[in-house]
């Protein structure tokens, strides 16, 4: 029995000019993994290929050790998905959508549906077209959770939400993690959300994984620092990841905090996930150019 809720092995996908190359990723059971990357980095393509919605060139995706192909009925019943754009028809009411989908899920919890609709203040008798973007996203979350999935895949779920709704969604996810053994793959631009709930961070850029690490290790590993221009040396430059030049200083990340500490004129601070994402993907962009 595997300890991974999701295993991606040597995944190669090609969609138009974009490709995901030799991607390997594991999502441990009972953990939340934040998937971050710039626009067009491959987050949605990765999620779609995990769900067999785009064909793969090669590679394998396993859910609790089982491939989706040939086991769609078992595997899909255990997955809840929220896409960045609502996938449900806007001309329908939530109740009708629930009635259409529930016969296919043995574990569909009608009581949970009503509870979550109430919690998110969603009127089940109103058409989805009358919902705001944020309300539509919330409804997507409700539908993804009602059949009690083991693995929840969220593609930018907080993008259209106001801070209160975002906080509520994050709180709901944390609640789920505490009460039940769920695994969550959470793709987002809003890295501050991940600071709150993620156990692991995976950074993807141009279809490749730049890093995939425990959040605590990551934040521990990288330090944000700035140094006055006149104090910059070649040796110091070699220690910097994602060097940025401002009017008076150079800024960047370093993995060797100990090496730079003590150098006069250097200020260090804790690197956020956003800092790490910006510096690491920015550096790659410069190399690519």
């Amino acid at each position: 029995m595997t300890n991974n809720a999701l295993e991606i092995k040597n995944l190669n996908v090609s969609v138009g000019n974009f490709s995901i190359t030799d991607l390997n990723l594991n999502l441990e059971k009972g953990t939340i993994m934040g998937l971050v990357g710039k626009n067009g980095s491959g987050k949605t393509t990765l999620i779609k290929s995990i769900l067999d919605m785009v064909p793969r060139k090669s590679g394998e995706v396993l859910f609790n050790g089982i491939p989706m192909y040939g086991n769609e009925k078992t595997v899909k019943a255990k997955i809840g998905v929220v896409f960045d754009n609502l996938i449900f028809p806007l001309n329908l009411k939530p109740l009708k959508i629930k009635n259409m989908m529930s016969p296919f899920y043995e574990a569909f919890d009608h009581e949970k549906f009503s509870r979550l609709m109430k919690r998110f203040e969603l009127d089940p008798k109103k058409k989805l077209s009358a919902y705001s973007r944020g309300m539509q996203t919330k409804f997507g979350v409700v539908m993804a959770l009602c059949h009690n999935p083991d693995i929840i895949i969220l593609d930018e779920p907080t993008a259209g939400l106001d801070p209160v709704a975002r906080a509520d969604l994050l709180y709901l996810l944390m609640e789920l993690m505490q009460s039940e053994e769920k695994s969550i793959l959470f793709s987002t631009h809003i890295t501050s959300d991940l600071e709150k709930i993620a156990d692991y961070i995976t950074l993807i850029d141009n279809g490749e994984i730049i890093l995939s690490q425990s959040k605590d290790e990551l934040v521990e590993k990288y330090t944000l620092f700035s140094v006055e221009k006149e104090r910059m040396t070649e040796q110091l430059k070699s220690e910097i990841v994602g060097l940025r030049e401002t009017a008076f200083t150079f800024e960047g990340l370093t993995c060797n905090k100990n090496k730079i500490l003590g150098i006069p004129g250097i200020r260090t601070s804790r690197a956020s996930i956003e800092d790490i994402m910006v510096c690491l993907t920015g550096k790659r962009g410069e190399q690519d150019d």
Partner: protein
């Protein structure tokens, strides 16, 4: 089971991307006007019988290749999806026919009522009801249309299920062009009975008119029936095989 099939059909229908962009609607209108113009010389008044299954399979194609595939989230096997897609294409066509027939009969009824009233007022004899509906009661023509539309539904739905875009588009294009050419060939080679005997070919008649008069109608129907018996199961097998393909494209 019926409840699940019904729910899945609704899910498929609701996965259809809406024609809400102006360019989408324009493309739809232009495409179907062109198809209609292209088949009028072949099927004449019966072109509507052909355009309805074409419209249905176009909708099925949009469902399968749209961006709101709700049905893909549902925990059912790929075979179940493919079987339901075939069922949907038949239901859509039957539904379209029902709507058109109801409208047509409503129209015919209205015309009959008007003719009756006019005849009553002017004191002329009522026209025979048989003459009004004679053209629609020819069973051979109906059977011919039915078999053509079954072939269209099954073949295009089967190709729509292909996950590989090249296979999908190439298959549908080849079938459309090939089928169209075959129909022209049939039209040009049906010998028509006239006063002096058999063998007159005419470009002025459509297939249905030629079919109505030719002595070979039953032979053509027999061959078309055999083609149907081969094509329909083969299309279903092909469609299921395509949709059940592993996610890894080789």
């Amino acid at each position: 089971m019926i409840k699940r099939i019904f729910a899945f059909q609704k899910l498929l229908l609701n996965s259809m991307p809406r024609l809400d962009k102006g360019s989408d609607i324009r493309t739809f209108i232009i495409l179907f006007t062109l198809i209609y113009i292209a088949i009028i010389p072949l099927f004449g008044m019966a072109s509507f019988n052909i355009i309805l299954p074409v419209a249905s399979v176009y909708l099925v194609y949009r469902i399968l290749n749209g961006d709101r595939k709700v049905f893909q989230l549902i925990p059912v096997s790929n075979s179940y999806v493919a079987e339901n897609v075939f069922l949907l294409s038949i239901i859509l066509t039957v539904f379209c026919y029902l709507v058109v027939w109801l409208l047509a009969w409503a129209g015919i009824g209205l015309i009959i009522v008007i003719v009756l009233i006019v005849s009553y007022v002017s004191g002329k004899a009522f026209p025979s009801g048989d003459s009004i509906i004679a053209s629609s009661s020819e069973w051979k023509n109906v059977l011919f249309s039915l078999m053509v539309f079954l072939i269209i539904i099954f073949v295009v739905t089967a190709f729509s299920l292909a996950k590989n875009k090249k296979v999908r588009l190439m298959g549908i294009t080849l079938f459309s062009v090939g089928g169209y050419a075959l129909m022209w060939l049939l039209k040009l080679s049906i010998p028509v009975a006239n006063d002096s005997g058999m063998g007159t070919l005419t470009l002025n008649c459509d297939i249905m008119q030629l079919f109505y008069t030719t002595a070979y109608a039953e032979t053509i129907l027999l061959w078309l029936g055999i083609a149907c018996l081969l094509i329909i199961p083969l299309s279903v097998i092909f469609g299921l095989k395509c949709y059940r393909q592993p996610p890894v494209s080789r």
